[in-house]
Symmetry: none
Subunit: 206 residues, 2 copies
DNA sequence: TATTATACTGTACATATATTCAGTACTATT
DNA sequence: AATAGTACTGAATATATGTACAGTATAATA
């Protein structure tokens, strides 16, 4: 699979959004309208490029004959198989194979936002937020974090799940939801804080 | 919602199968080809009937503008659609249409056990068990209950989610997981206790 | 330097498609 | 007996749509 360009990604996203919204794929004209193109051939050439690269298939002659090819090898965006990663005290929750305990088949639009993997929770530091040991948190890899979000944070090799609270441009507090645990105060000038992502959902099996 | 006729059901199934196969809805001609009709108007009239009865929506003027309206009742094909039922204080959590708030597409083997519906939780009586307001509990309709199971219990018209604890052949205690709530002691000789099912999993969107 | 890929505008046209109209026939309901 | 719904055939047509052709421009590659 070749690389996708940013414009081609825009077109691909546009198709997916259109299908989600209407239930059927867009025409060339629909894509032009969504993305501001003035010629249907602009959409056409992008579609042919996406087809050539294997991202979509186009039924020749048929109207709205575009379908998105699910290729889970490529991005985690189109995949229905989501990995479960164990929250180990030391080390970043990477998608490296040795950290993947299992996978779960799950619709892409299962939670309100897309997500990248499930994190298996250790400990009870977020107990009062209803996050218990062995719960699976749906994690979206993003740096778009607001105060009050439940984030997966890493300081050096220590990974934790906490509430995010930016007190000042320099100070971030990571707040547990359990009276037995203390706030973690991070001075961004002294320590490196990595936000691996945020929680967009939770799954529990019992 | 009116009743569907057998021919209309065939057309509806045909549309669903076509979408599953190709990724986009069929044309009138496609439906004719699949079902052996000789005139596109045969498909057209069935489509209009299905639209009138609320099974599909048709985008006027658009080609392939058919989309199936999600109605879990009509799910011979989509066995992965589970209803969400609101936990109302009064009344049994039935699958009657008026109680279904929404549906979720979910693999059948998503939790460790099969289940029948999602129950949307009201209140915080199971807070310490990690069950928060608006969480969705995956409920399996069963009477195979052990002590310690989280059950959906009904006494008269009152429905609650609690831990199940059979103290004696006559006495069942329904125990909340929140110090602000009291145990419900049920004397089976005096009151009727209906166990609607038990929790086999939990889903939270945030 | 020539070639290829990307990224568009603009026009044109064959055909794919929705949709209407005119019929026929059967069934159930009022 | 009249009306409405179902279940079709068959033909006609406006328009929705895919797709080719003719350009322009930029960037990267061989």
């Amino acid at each position: 699979m070749k690389e996708i360009t940013s414009q081609q990604q825009r077109v691909l996203d546009c198709i997916q959004i259109y299908i989600n919204k209407t239930g059927f794929p867009p025409t060339r004209a629909d894509i032009c309208k969504e993305l501001g193109f003035k010629s249907p051939n602009s959409a056409e050439t992008h579609l042919r490029a996406l087809e050539k690269k294997g991202f979509i298939s186009i039924e020749s002659g048929a109207s709205r004959g575009i379908s998105i090819i699910n290729n889970d090898r490529n991005s985690s965006i189109n995949s229905d198989e989501y990995p479960i990663i164990g929250l180990v005290a030391a080390g970043s929750p990477t998608l490296a194979e040795e950290n993947i305990m299992n996978t779960i088949n799950c619709p892409e639009s299962f939670f309100n936002s897309s997500f990248d993997y499930f994190l298996k929770v250790k400990g009870l530091s977020m107990k009062n937020a209803g996050i218990m040991e062995d719960d699976l948190i749906a994690v979206k890899k993003t740096s778009d974090i607001k105060n009050g979000d439940i984030v997966i944070a890493r300081i050096d090799d220590e990974v934790t799940v906490k509430f995010f609270n930016k007190k000042s441009p320099k100070i971030v507090e990571l707040e547990p939801a359990n009276e037995d645990f203390e706030n973690i105060v991070v001075n961004l000038e002294e320590e490196e804080l990595h936000i691996e992502g945020k929680s967009v959902g939770l799954l529990r099996k019992n």
